[in-house]
Symmetry: C2
Subunit: 311 residues, 2 copies
């Protein structure tokens, strides 16, 4: 992973000074590097070479960082990875353009590997992510959103990049079709587990654990699983409250506290974390076709980590 | 070009309804399709096959459209291609995300061609464009910008995509190195000619001819060649005016009229168009290593068209 980090730092350079400055703020500042770790570990677990996967891993992190920069502009988020969001320091315009720059750099790095199949996987993932973000945006404040559509949004905006990270790593390492399919399935389930845990933490966790402000989903009117579950449990009793705060977006400072109490009180955070745990189990089950190795163990532990952040 | 248009319409589809809607607003609404035409014509002029270049041409238009969507958000522009800018209809957030979607789709299309070298050319162009946009943004309102930096910005934000469009077309058609280099040089010079004419039109033309509001550069504090030339010619007389309107960004409704009079009156629009004409000539000169053909003639005429829009 040190080699991936070195590559990331090296390739985010530009002779336009604000680009490495802003990129360093978000890239070098931290983040869990889960996605590039998945790419490298998937390549290793499939028993393949590591040369191409290193560059693919850096590409994955660049794509992820580009989407973070754009998402924070789109959502008006204030914090990211425990720091002030980049757009509040350099402005939305610069954040959008540096996101574009990092996205383009991701493809330049992929081209260097000469791995067209891996490139196709990550190109497709990029359009799926963008479409998922648009879908989420158009369905914000919409209490008629059903669980299937919620899972469709989560699959697209989050799980697809985890799936592509694992699949590209396997493909880049020259893995056989069965291993590639298993690792894609691992990534997809891990991504679902991760996002569901994230959505649970938005109500049940602390801003410190999240690295961003708790309650952001509520303030942005995002309809997530904990909210859907709590709405069903409080049907007839709290409809006016949800309608006012989510559909109409009229919120006082106290409303998040009340939403939190309702969501935790109805067991909806726990139920969401349970569902996340099921996806983590599915991710681990997908790994079983691979031979036992330290790298398979690492992927296994990563699945536990994705849902344990809530603790 | 009808085949390119059909491909563009086909590949901007998505099951998230707002994506084709917004994309159609900007893609299908018009635009001169200069860049994809360059890709196709370059492939033909180099005597090569047209199969890959068609998809590369559609990719080039997608990249261009993505940058237009993001630029209009960044600049807060009100009009584009003679219509209301997309972000004023669907919001900045959707415009940013649909831009990302189209950018990703561009790479998906390129992957289908299997042409890694062409893909590398367009990936590199994409990061150069983003870096050029950032440079332009950080140097707005800066009257110390020199002509070289201005040309560096124009090369990156505009000419690079024209160069890459021509180069990728030639490479996709299997042209030899001399033809590839000639067509890249043609594109780069054509792009410079086009942007300089555009910058001249912002003061010397009508909003109708531009398809966007005349005076946008002035209002955004962009330091372009007509402004640089007029500032030099009015040195000692109008320094306070330029300082107030550009550096400080304090403008009344009458100021654009006055800037226009000073810039046209000092011959700075004409001088900028002359420089654009020189680049158009250089573009045409670069074509001379290619054998005579209808497609070479088309590229030749395109160079004249790029600077004649001012008429």
């Amino acid at each position: 992973m040190a080699a991936v980090d070195a590559l990331i730092i090296d390739r985010m350079q530009s002779d336009v000074p604000v680009i490495p400055l802003l990129a360093e703020h978000i890239v070098a500042a931290g983040g869990k590097r889960m996605r590039p770790l998945i790419t490298v570990a998937a390549a290793r677990a499939a028993g393949g070479s590591i040369e191409h996967p290193l560059k693919l891993a850096a590409s994955v992190e660049f794509i992820h960082t580009a989407t973070l920069l754009h998402d924070d502009v789109v959502d008006g988020s204030e914090r990211r990875r425990g720091k002030v969001a980049a757009h509040l320091i350099w402005g939305s315009a610069t954040s959008v353009l540096v996101g574009d720059f990092l996205f383009a750099r991701a493809f330049e790095l992929m081209v260097e590997t000469g791995q067209m199949r891996a490139l196709g996987i990550l190109a497709r993932a990029s359009s799926v992510i963008a479409a998922g973000e648009v879908l989420q945006l158009t369905r914000a404040h919409d209490l008629n959103l059903d669980r299937d559509t919620y899972l469709q949004i989560v699959s697209a905006k989050t799980a697809e990049l985890f799936a592509a990270a694992a699949e590209a790593g396997a493909v880049g390492a020259g893995a056989d079709d069965a291993a590639v399919a298993a690792l894609r399935s691992y990534g997809l389930n891990l991504g679902l587990a991760f996002q569901l845990a994230d959505d649970a933490l938005d109500y049940g966790g602390s801003s410190e654990a999240l690295g961003k402000n708790a309650g952001d989903d509520f303030r942005e009117g995002k309809v997530t699983l904990p909210l859907l579950l709590a709405m069903a449990k409080t049907k007839g009793r709290e409809d006016a409250f949800w309608d006012r705060t989510i559909t109409k977006g009229e919120r006082t400072e106290d409303d998040f506290r009340r939403a939190r109490e309702l969501i935790i009180g109805t067991g909806s955070v726990t139920a969401t974390l349970d569902t996340a745990g099921d996806y983590a189990d599915a991710a681990k089950a997908a790994l079983r076709v691979l031979p036992q190795s330290d790298w398979r163990d690492a992927l296994d532990q990563l699945a536990d980590f994705a849902v344990s952040r809530a603790a």
